[in-house]
Symmetry: none
Subunit: 206 residues, 4 copies
Amino acid sequence: MPTKKQPQVKKVQATPDERRRELLATAAEVFAAQGYNATTVRRIADEAGLLAGSLYYHFDSKESMLEEILRTFLDELWAGYDTVLDAQLGPRQTLEALVTESFREIDRHRPAVAIYQKEARQLAGLERFEFLAESQRRFEETWLTTLERGVAGQVFRADLDLRLAYRFVRDTVWVAASWYRPGGHHSPEEIARQYLAMVLDGLAAR
Amino acid sequence: MPTKKQPQVKKVQATPDERRRELLATAAEVFAAQGYNATTVRRIADEAGLLAGSLYYHFDSKESMLEEILRTFLDELWAGYDTVLDAQLGPRQTLEALVTESFREIDRHRPAVAIYQKEARQLAGLERFEFLAESQRRFEETWLTTLERGVAGQVFRADLDLRLAYRFVRDTVWVAASWYRPGGHHSPEEIARQYLAMVLDGLAAR
Amino acid sequence: MPTKKQPQVKKVQATPDERRRELLATAAEVFAAQGYNATTVRRIADEAGLLAGSLYYHFDSKESMLEEILRTFLDELWAGYDTVLDAQLGPRQTLEALVTESFREIDRHRPAVAIYQKEARQLAGLERFEFLAESQRRFEETWLTTLERGVAGQVFRADLDLRLAYRFVRDTVWVAASWYRPGGHHSPEEIARQYLAMVLDGLAAR
Amino acid sequence: MPTKKQPQVKKVQATPDERRRELLATAAEVFAAQGYNATTVRRIADEAGLLAGSLYYHFDSKESMLEEILRTFLDELWAGYDTVLDAQLGPRQTLEALVTESFREIDRHRPAVAIYQKEARQLAGLERFEFLAESQRRFEETWLTTLERGVAGQVFRADLDLRLAYRFVRDTVWVAASWYRPGGHHSPEEIARQYLAMVLDGLAAR
DNA sequence: CATGAATGAGGGTTCATTCAT
DNA sequence: AATGAATGAACCCTCATTCAT
């Protein structure tokens, strides 16, 4: 039984949604490589194989492309995080799962993560990007709570400034997007394992 | 009664060199806050209390301001690092001293560090900024050697991918420039101590 | 019970000619409301319920729509004027009939008249719109002749600069298109009567 | 006795304010000739002898130039009208003075008046141009009151629809800006006299 | 007939930079 | 040293128009 009777067309025609995604992927790549401000809309168009003006058939503005890229990434990130949090694991397992999930997201959305890292602070001021600040608040709360639970349960050290520790873990993980290359030596899970080894047990030999 | 013998001028006149430094400090602050590309030369001039055109009496171009900011920072950074390295300490003490020195540099050159973090990758391509890549090479070599010595001497764990560990420490330290505020709760040395506690011994309770 | 013998079609299908007229009416409305230049072809399409590109099946260009609108209006205007002129009335009756006819045209072609008022001067330069200048010449000649006949026959005052008087009457009548709304308080004939009262006998009480 | 000791410079240097006025005069001329929308900022610059970008040293935007042109005109218009109204003349003299004043304004601000005539309706929608609607309200009130006083005092005919009469006078006067050329055959006062003769006593011989 | 996607020629605006004063 | 005015290149975006489907 044929799955669907599809007319055999010479050229595979992308659905409008696929086209959008393609273009956004291209844009994200360029934004990540050159920086949002330094990226011209022409450059994106060149890379995507059409003219600058044509992008405006698909998107309202350069900024709206950026917004959609970041929003899509954050939506998926939180879907992943929420799955982890809903499992109600102990603090150490939660931390491990969140870190692992983070590296998976870096693997899937490297350009978006890189853009986020570089531009979030300035964008947060714009009304249109308020969701960034909102996400950051949830992020901080999630991590701090996990760390606090761990300290209370004596699985994490008690002699640390927790806000420092939070920033330590957060930055440690996400900056990886700036050098990570999908399809490289290590899988996201392998990198996560190594990072967790360092973050949890330190560099020093015992 | 004047306590200091100052040249009797109507207006306290800065030397040309001091003026340069003032202007560069202002520029660095703005570059760090808004990003290099997003910063207009006029904005710097506003902040410094003169007109955009007047900056060109002091500097060749916007780019040359950026170059001077980064060069000054890296020169001082390497002066500090070289002092540490010349002391020929053991690997663990070297690592501790380098981290502490790094936080001191962040304290003294926060805007420059923030700019460096954000822009170095794109700038590295320009001929004029080749010194960035050069610095990065020395940096990597210094840290990797220290880590290797530590592994060889069994003060650092042997089960780690050293390049990953290098990036881990590097990022861990420098990203701090993005949130560090001089004159805040913690002195650079205090922050260094906390970071070292985490980096060396991890978050997990023993 | 059908009152009219209509061709039995599933959907009441407009003839191609009717469709054209509909689209032109829509276009005229938008041109009049927003100005020709400020009107986008897409806006017209929106208003007409199709996509911008589809208009080009019916018309060659935006400009050709404008041309057809103005041409249709002027053709009908001159048909009316010619009927009046052919009647060979006395100068005062001619003036009255022309004014009345003008208000009738405003009633029937308000958008076209409004467009004409606003755009004729700039369009006159374009080769394609030479018929506007031609019409204006005939218009001026018609009115001036009528006024001169009236002065000669002592039904109009002799102490006026006739070119000024011509412009006075012309403008007086046609600017009304900018505020006239069909189906309002006054019929075209009623407005014509009032205007004629003012134009012929003035505002001052006797 | 010299009025002011001015250094004799080769090139007469315009004050910043004079430069602004020059540029606005040029812009007004072009706006009037081509229509606001059809005018490119490059064209204005050409006409003024500088580059398009240079206009932005003097003005915020094309729209702000338009605003300043219209505002300046309306301010002066109302200064003139207020002088007339403050004199508290009888209704007929008031009407005569207002019409005369109007033609004087057309003489001094012909481009601004032409622009006003053509663009006011669309602009009124924009917040920035609310002063146009405000002016229009005062205008209508001023004229209607004058006409009503005249009817009450039996110097104007009682058999007219006053709103129609108002529009009649208003349009009659202002459309003149579309053909008036300063320095032509008639002075503004002469044109006003002729117009008043027609408006008050009509075209018909007595 | 109509759609959807693209084109390409500008148009308004920004901004680093220059230079006579 | 600094100003004020201008330059010119580039940028984001709009829009009339085209054309395969």
